[in-house]
């Protein structure tokens, strides 16, 4: 057994995220009787290290128990090549242990902890040995949607928790805390927005902007509370709106997780997320009161990538050149955005010059073109 390699990163500045998650959610019900002989694989996560007890497992189901010994909220991922998320567990607050069950075919993977929930994370190798059964074309597509649905599940779990924290802060009149939580809760929403948009009537209630509200419909949801917080600076009457947001989010999460997605929807969803960036975030229209558009930008980009990576095995087989282009352009878009990182979060939209916004716009257009070709490849 090799010693797991530990990558040490510099301490990230404490930003908005650091103090936002005081109430520890109850640990995910773990698979106590794991298929793994000898119990779950222990992962010791801190702000600077990610020590996985083993770097080699047998093909099949593995369970990881991730303990956060650091001071920042962390996440744990198992990636297949190309950063395809095989499994992840979000929102592990300091002091908490959460379990992750993942089914891995033989191959080479990476584990990653993401203290502060940002960046590429602290990576380590993971080799899975044993029989590998090649999937048929249909099975590969089925695996892609299953993989993406796991992603939706993990994002919606975190969305529920973070929206609750946000709503609680609003109702408690803790404006600064609510403002810090606003872009964080929205991150999980924005990553999976195309799934949410399937439910046409709920989406505008949760995420509708002021001008799209129809006659006879009340302005509710995230952006209404955003206006209350940033423009009116008064949330004393926002309680009912906050409660409705929570109820609507719960409803949509339930629907999103019971929705059966098609591979075509994955491809289109990846494109739609980038369209969201191009039309709403680059221009600062989405979060016009808080100017936290770059948080949504990062989330849309991450969600688009998750969708593409879920399809990766199919794309690699059918359009290897496209995969290369996608890798290059995703990396370029991420690098362009990375220039605007501030602490654990992002600069405000109104802190960017027009030239800087144009650079982001160009990067998104360069990426969205190859992404728009995915659906046709999947449909072949």
């Amino acid at each position: 057994m090799r010693t797991p390699s530990v990558v040490v990163t510099g301490l990230l500045a404490l930003g908005a995220l650091a103090g936002c998650s005081q109430d520890a959610p109850s640990a995910q019900p773990g698979a106590a009787g794991s298929a793994q002989a000898g119990g779950p694989i222990k992962v010791a996560a801190s702000d600077t290290a990610c020590t996985v007890a083993t770097s080699e497992v047998a093909a099949g189901t593995s369970t990881f128990a991730v303990t956060n010994g650091g001071t920042k909220v962390t996440e744990f991922y198992v990636y297949a090549p190309g950063d395809r998320v095989m499994a992840e567990v979000e929102n592990i607050v300091p002091g908490l242990t959460r379990e992750l069950i993942v089914e891995l075919p033989a191959g080479v993977y990476e584990t990653a902890c993401k203290p502060g929930m940002v960046g590429k994370g602290i990576r380590g190798p993971l080799k899975v040995t044993g029989e590998a059964t090649p999937l048929s074309a249909d099975a590969k597509l089925a695996a892609a949607t299953a993989s993406y649905q796991r992603y939706v599940k993990s994002q919606t779990d975190a969305l529920l928790i973070k929206t609750q924290e946000f709503v609680d802060a609003v109702k408690a009149g803790e404006q600064e805390k609510a403002k810090a939580l606003f872009p964080v809760a929205r991150t999980y929403w924005e990553r999976i927005e195309p799934v949410a948009e399937i439910f046409g009537d709920l989406d505008p209630k949760i995420d509708g902007r002021e001008e799209v509200i129809e006659e006879g419909m009340e302005f509710t949801g995230f952006h209404r509370l955003e206006r209350d917080l940033w423009v009116d600076k008064d949330v004393s009457k926002s309680g009912p709106i906050a409660d409705r947001l929570m109820a609507d989010v719960k409803l949509i999460v339930e629907k999103a997780n019971s929705e059966k997605l098609s591979p075509l929807q994955l491809g289109n969803g990846a494109k739609e997320l980038l369209d969201e960036v191009a039309t709403g975030k680059i221009t600062g229209e989405e979060d016009r009161y808080s100017h936290t558009d770059l948080w949504d930008f990062a989330a849309n980009l991450a969600g688009s990538k998750a969708s593409v990576q879920a399809l990766r095995p199919v794309l690699e087989e059918r359009a290897p050149d496209l995969v290369k282009t996608l890798d290059t352009q995703f990396a370029a878009a991420e690098a362009a955005l990375e220039e605007h990182r501030k602490g654990d979060g992002w600069k405000l939209h109104n802190e960017l010059s027009k030239a800087e916004l144009k650079k982001l716009s160009d990067a998104i257009n360069a990426l969205a073109e190859p992404v728009s070709k995915i659906a046709a490849v999947v449909a072949k």
């Binding site: 799209v212 129809e214 221009t283 144009k358 257009n365």
Partner: protein, 418 residues
């Protein structure tokens, strides 16, 4: 040189005049209306009659180019406004016939004076130029004693979901629509009118359109918008005389009297998110419009002018033309029979500084009552149209379009100021 037709300078006279004469006779039979009246120029170079019962530039076959301008009246004197309209009318009557804006012209005046025509249209034919004036609601605010004469149909349009209107690109006391088959001719006309107006009016905004998106005659093919689709196939056309009477022209009973034979113009500048549209699959584009992209036929049918069959279902049991497809939502049958005479133009205002084309549709529709025709259609579109993901309405205007100028003794708005 004074009074010389620019077209005659080119020596293109006779054939064009004969052709125009033939078209007058033909169109008169179709329309069953007394002469003189605005008719189509048969050749793209010809002139369109300025005098008539209705203003030209409405039920005139849509020309290829647009320069639209809205003005704020800055004088506070009614007499100055009245005088301006008389001067504008005289200049418009000349320019639409291929003549210069003033009597001396670009080069015929005294050398010490600036020319009374700016000169960039010298040597160019009339090019089908029409000039159409409109009065905005703000003209009736009391500054000129017109408050009591405001038509009920000129009341403010409601706010539609998704509206992102820029006040500086919306409204206006006066508007002039210049349409021509040569962009230089259209620009020349607006430029000279603006110049005549200095001190009395100030240009509020103006819009160039480079390609017509509507056909207003059965002799014209339906052009394409910047999304690549034929849209507005069910447009009112000048040959539909009875329908124009019912849906376009203000009748005596509609009131007020000064508007009889006039109509109302709605303008909407609709920015298109061209880049995201272009990476949308063909199937989705067609589903959004409810038409096939090649022929323009309603989905499930073969030809553009086939009447859409909204009940027809595909093999999966869903309607071939979706419940929220553009063609269904905008169709008269979905809007209590409401019909419009659409006369919009594609525009590209360069790039937007973010690496994207600043482009879209400058929508214009003429109708007898905007609140009973445009409003229900736009309400349905704003609420449900899947196209909204790719467009944004950024300006809005509503203008009363007075009837035509009868003859040389008449002028734009005379009945209003009488």
């Amino acid at each position: 040189m004074s009074g010389v037709s620019r077209r005659k300078l080119l020596g293109l006279g006779a054939a064009g005049v004969a052709a125009a004469g033939a078209s007058v006779a033909g169109a008169r039979m179709l329309l069953d209306e007394p002469a003189p009246m605005p008719v189509s120029a048969v050749s793209a170079l010809d002139s369109v009659a300025f005098y008539g019962e209705h203003q030209a530039g409405i039920a005139t076959p849509a020309q290829d180019r647009l320069h639209f301008a809205a003005f704020d009246v800055i004088t506070t004197k009614r007499s100055e406004l009245d005088a301006l309209l008389q001067e504008w009318t005289a200049a418009a009557a000349r320019m639409t016939q291929g003549q210069e804006a003033g009597t001396f012209g670009a080069v015929g005046g005294v050398p010490e004076a600036p020319p009374d025509d700016t000169g960039e249209a010298l040597g160019l034919p009339a090019s089908g130029l029409t000039l159409t004036i409109g009065f905005g609601a703000s003209l009736f605010d009391g500054r000129f004693g017109l408050a009591g004469r405001k038509p009920a149909a000129l009341r403010e349009l409601p706010r539609f979901p998704g509206d992102a209107l820029l006040p500086e690109l919306s409204g206006g006391d006066l508007c002039v629509q210049a349409c021509a088959n040569d962009p230089q001719v259209a620009v020349h006309a607006i430029r000279n009118l603006a110049r005549i107006g200095f001190g009395r009016v100030s240009a509020r905004y103006s819009q160039l359109g480079f390609g017509r998106t509507s056909s207003t005659s059965r002799t014209q093919a339906t052009p394409r918008n910047l999304m690549g689709f034929k849209d507005g196939t069910a447009n009112l056309k000048l040959e539909d005389t009875a329908m124009l009477r019912d849906h376009l022209w203000v009748a005596e009973k509609d009131g007020p009297a000064w508007m009889r034979g006039g109509t109302y113009l709605v303008t909407r500048k609709i920015r298109m998110h061209i880049e995201t549209w272009d990476r949308t699959s063909l199937a989705e584009q067609e589903a959004i419009f409810g038409r096939d992209k090649g022929e323009g036929a309603p989905l499930g049918l073969a030809k553009e002018f086939d009447e859409p069959d909204f009940a027809k279902k595909g093999p999966d049991g869903a309607p071939l033309i979706g419940e929220v497809a553009h063609v269904r939502l905008a169709h008269p049958s979905s809007n209590g029979g409401a019909r419009l005479l659409r006369r919009g133009y594609n525009y590209v205002d360069g790039s937007d500084g973010l690496g994207r084309l600043d482009a879209g549709l400058f929508f214009m529709s003429y109708q007898r009552d905007p609140h009973r025709q445009f409003v229900p259609v736009q309400r349905a579109l704003a609420k449900n149209d899947v196209l909204n993901e790719y467009i944004k309405h950024i300006s809005s205007g509503l203008f009363a379009i007075p009837p035509g100028v009868r003859d040389g003794g008449d002028y734009w708005g005379r009945a209003l100021f009488a």
